[in-house]
Amino acid sequence: MLKLKKHQLLFILIVLLSIFLRFYKLGSIPAGFHHDEVSQAYNSFAIGTTGHDRYGEYFPILFRSFGSYQPPVYTYLSPIPILLFGNTVFAARFLSALSGVIIVIFTYLIVLELTKEKYKYNLSLIAALIVAISPWAIQFSRRVVEGNLGLSIFLISLFLFIRSLKTPKVLPWAAFIMGISTQAYYSERIASTIFIPIFLAVFWKYYFKYKRLVFFALFLFGLTQLPHLWILTTGAYARRFAQVSYFNNDPGDLPRALYLILEFTKHFLSYISPRNLFSDTGVDLGRVSPDLGVFYSWLFIPFLVGIVNFLKQAKSLFFKLLLMLAPISLVSASLTGDVFYPLRILEFLWIVSIAISLGILVILNAVRNKTLGFVIFGILIIYSLIAFYISHAVLLKYETQEYMADSYIKLNEYLKKYDDKKIIIDSGRDFAIGVRIAYFRKFDAGKMASILKPQLTSDYYSSEVSLREVYKIDNILVRPLIWEEDPCQKNTILIGDSLAISEKQAKDHDLTEVFDVKTSDKKIVLKAYSTNQDLNCKPNLLGS
């Protein structure tokens, strides 16, 4: 059995490992800067410098972003790393990576709090280690995703809720922080709102003695919901739900209620299916790392062992809590139409990690030769990390670089050389190019607001959000190319991918290649052409 000092040392090592896995080359892996990431990043920069977002909205409740709205907490916290590390990808992702480390720390603390048996340190350490190395936990810590921050806040709150069973005075803090989590990510809006009443109901005998504290806690939670109430009827509040849910789909021959029940069940079952949890579910690289599931496949065995052991402890606080949390954590994701979207079920993945950890502990305890057991466990951990490295740092890096618009980060470096020219960048297929360039150039948020605000076709909080925006960042114009006009402009560089400017179009319009932007594996993805100053534009010739 581990002594306390050794246990503390191991915990520190696990935290250091989690820091390494989350922060190592954070700015370059995954390569690129996804439009959701850049939207958060620029809004944080704008809030940090002006108190307004890029549309000029003063401290918004939700941030308008490319056809949708982003929850505000990440954006309000990120100005600090941006101030510290500058307008970089690393700075934008910093908070997510930090949340990943917080998740590891609070996993340890929660399991320690819930386990009373003699193996509690071992279980806490294994749980922290599994969360530290699990693909889902690393992947979502290395991208700007509000979900990771949402989970970390949720876990802090969960820890306080559990603590409140011994120290009731922390209950208001727990409720308040859980309220904050609802502002951090959409899934928490539903999960937290369901969790609090169920938690209080399950332990009502205990909390009945502290009625005043309970009412105060509920009041604080309610207070955090006021911003939601403020925008409840605007359409912005439910905009994301309307985008991703199946509620507006045609039910076909089925009665609507039955259709909704079937859809919910189908999605619920897909989220608890081992296929989706322990193997590569497909090629949608926006969600998973190539050839990896959200968990390593071998963890399926300890998962089963862990589940069996949890079910055997039906009366324990640990079991009650996880049994309560598991279905709650799947409700919001099951209301959406995607088949399997791990980002929406981070709480559930965390619970699965705990079950896996219990399974590992049971297996290690059952092995007669302890040394051999730990050696095999160590080998599996190392194997897992190698598998993750290959998948994430090699395959994901190269295979998603175009999807993640890595070429536009590189383009930014080239653009610095052409400040004396007018530049037009095609945004036909990537509507975030303008914001991306603005972020790296630290383009003044006030000026940005003056460009974007007039382009709003509806109220800031609205269910109608347009993606067609034109950006004018110093000498750079970002919009879809207009072939009737753009080649005729003097002293101008046109930039786009091969679909935007084909070889034939370049030849027809007498464009001269200035430079190209290559991917890390040397494939040309963007080309820049200068216009021919002597070109005599004729509409009938140039209208292609």
Partner: protein, 453 residues
């Protein structure tokens, strides 16, 4: 030790040419209590037997091998024996080994001994056993061993010894009058809990010896399996068979049986595999047998289950084997070409060597696909084929069933699921044969949930 009273019985039919040799091979001190029952022979069997001093009983008509033995044992029991030895008078079995055969019974170690001719393949074939008979013998022996939970080397021997206790308890009078009598004796004795052992004897086929013909032989083998099936149904409580002791703790309640059948049928309809009736029947039976194996811990059911599982695996593999598992599709080849470059750029020398390149381009793709296949069927959404309200009805029972199952996980069930899980690795992902292998398990879990609800 007091020498046991041994009665030797000879079921005879046209054995005039071999009785004498058989008789003189019997140890002298055992020759005083010999009974021969003549089953309507047309030769001088009776005359020769009587000339040797053998006690002879005659059937006026040819009643069959089983009927002959019934008379043998009935008459033998009248002589108040300790041990009864059955010896074919066709000189096929080495009677000088009777002492070895009866020794374990005399020592009260066993109640039933037989002489096995299959000590080795070479010995059996050199002894004159036809090659076809040898192989049929081996295959049937293998299957019956699995179903009966024994490890005999032969099930067809006609050189046997029984304790009196066994002959008084086993209801041999209700057995068949035909060749399957011997099989019934073995199965019934085992079902009554008697200990059965074997000794090795030489194989001795010769021209004078009697030999079962092809059609009769086939009938005999099928009747043997039918007897096993009857034992199984008897144990289920579905039929009552006098040959076997009353079923005890592994009877299936008729209500449970109907419920389980209903769940299975509904699930099979939900899965929509009505185009493969053989597979459906196998899955249906597999469900019932899985229930008996798991709930009733019936060893016969466990063995039968693995035979059925083997059959369903073979059907699945023949219909749904993943042909792309060991070869690359054009798309996969393209991906590997670009990955080759990426690995080289990122991993450098770690990749640029024979092992690294072979692993990444030959081994890793197969492992990745195999891994994907392993999990492809573990998709609950497809388990329940959520398309209508009936499938919804099963889900809560399934979840409750999982909860109940967790309280009684046994090695057998883990092994059963592991076999299916590994088979999945070779099946085309997304193909229905993968899910179907899990159907008996799903049905069992739903039933467990229902039963406890």
């Amino acid at each position: 030790m007091k020498r046991p009273k041994v009665v030797i019985v000879m079921p005879a039919f046209n054995a005039e040419r071999t009785i004498r040799d058989t008789y003189f091979e019997i140890p002298k001190y055992l020759r005083k209590n010999i009974i021969l029952v003549d089953d309507g022979s047309s030769d001088k069997t009776v005359k020769v037997a009587k000339s040797l001093g053998i006690k002879v009983f005659e059937h006026t008509n040819n009643l069959g091998y089983g009927a002959n033995q019934k008379t043998c044992y009935k008459e033998a029991l009248k002589m108040n024996p300790d041990i009864v030895v059955m010896l074919h008078p066709d000189y096929q079995y080495d009677a000088s080994l009777i002492e070895d055969l009866i020794y374990p019974i005399a020592k009260d170690k066993y109640d039933f001994m037989f002489g096995s001719r299959i000590r080795s393949k070479k010995g059996a074939l050199l002894g004159g056993m036809p090659r076809t008979k040898y192989y049929v013998n081996r295959v049937v022996c293998f299957l019956e061993n699995i179903l009966l939970g024994v490890n005999f080397t032969e099930h067809f021997s006609g050189f046997r010894a029984y304790s009196r206790k066994l002959l008084e308890k086993v209801p041999f009078q209700s057995f068949s009058n035909d060749f399957v009598f011997d099989q019934e004796m073995t199965i019934s004795a085992l079902s009554h809990g008697f200990e059965v052992g074997e000794i090795s004897i030489p194989t001795r086929y010769h021209q004078k010896a009697s030999s079962i013909q092809f059609l009769k032989g086939t009938k005999f083998i099928l009747e043997g399996f039918l007897t096993l099936a009857m034992l199984f149904l008897h144990n289920l409580g579905i039929i009552k068979d006098k040959r076997f002791p009353p079923a005890k703790n592994f009877m299936i309640n008729k209500y449970n049986f109907l419920t389980l059948s209903a769940i299975t049928l509904i699930n099979l309809i939900l899965y929509g595999i009505l185009d493969n009736p053989i597979f459906e029947i196998i899955l249906f039976i597999e469900t019932i047998i899985l229930y008996l194996s798991y709930i009733k811990d019936n060893f016969l059911a466990k063995r039968l289950l693995f035979i059925l599982l083997l059959a369903s695996i073979l059907i699945s593999l023949s219909n749904g084997f993943d042909k792309n598992l060991f070869k690359l599709t054009p798309l996969e080849s393209d991906t590997l070409v670009s990955r080759h470059e990426h690995f080289a750029l990122e991993l450098g020398r770690l990749y640029k060597n024979r092992i690294g390149i072979n692993y990444a381009n030959s081994i890793r793709p197969v492992l990745v696909k195999f891994n994907r296949n392993l999990f492809s069927s573990l998709n609950f959404e497809l388990f329940f084929n959520v398309r209508n309200i009936v499938s919804l009805f099963f889900i809560p029972f399934f979840l409750l069933g999982i909860y109940n199952l967790s309280r009684k996980i046994n090695k057998f069930l883990v092994f059963y699921l592991l076999v299916i899980f590994i088979t999945e690795g070779f099946l085309t992902p997304g193909g229905r044969y993968g899910y179907l292998l899990y159907v008996p398990f799903i049905n069992l879990v739903i039933y467990l949930g229902y039963a406890k609800a």
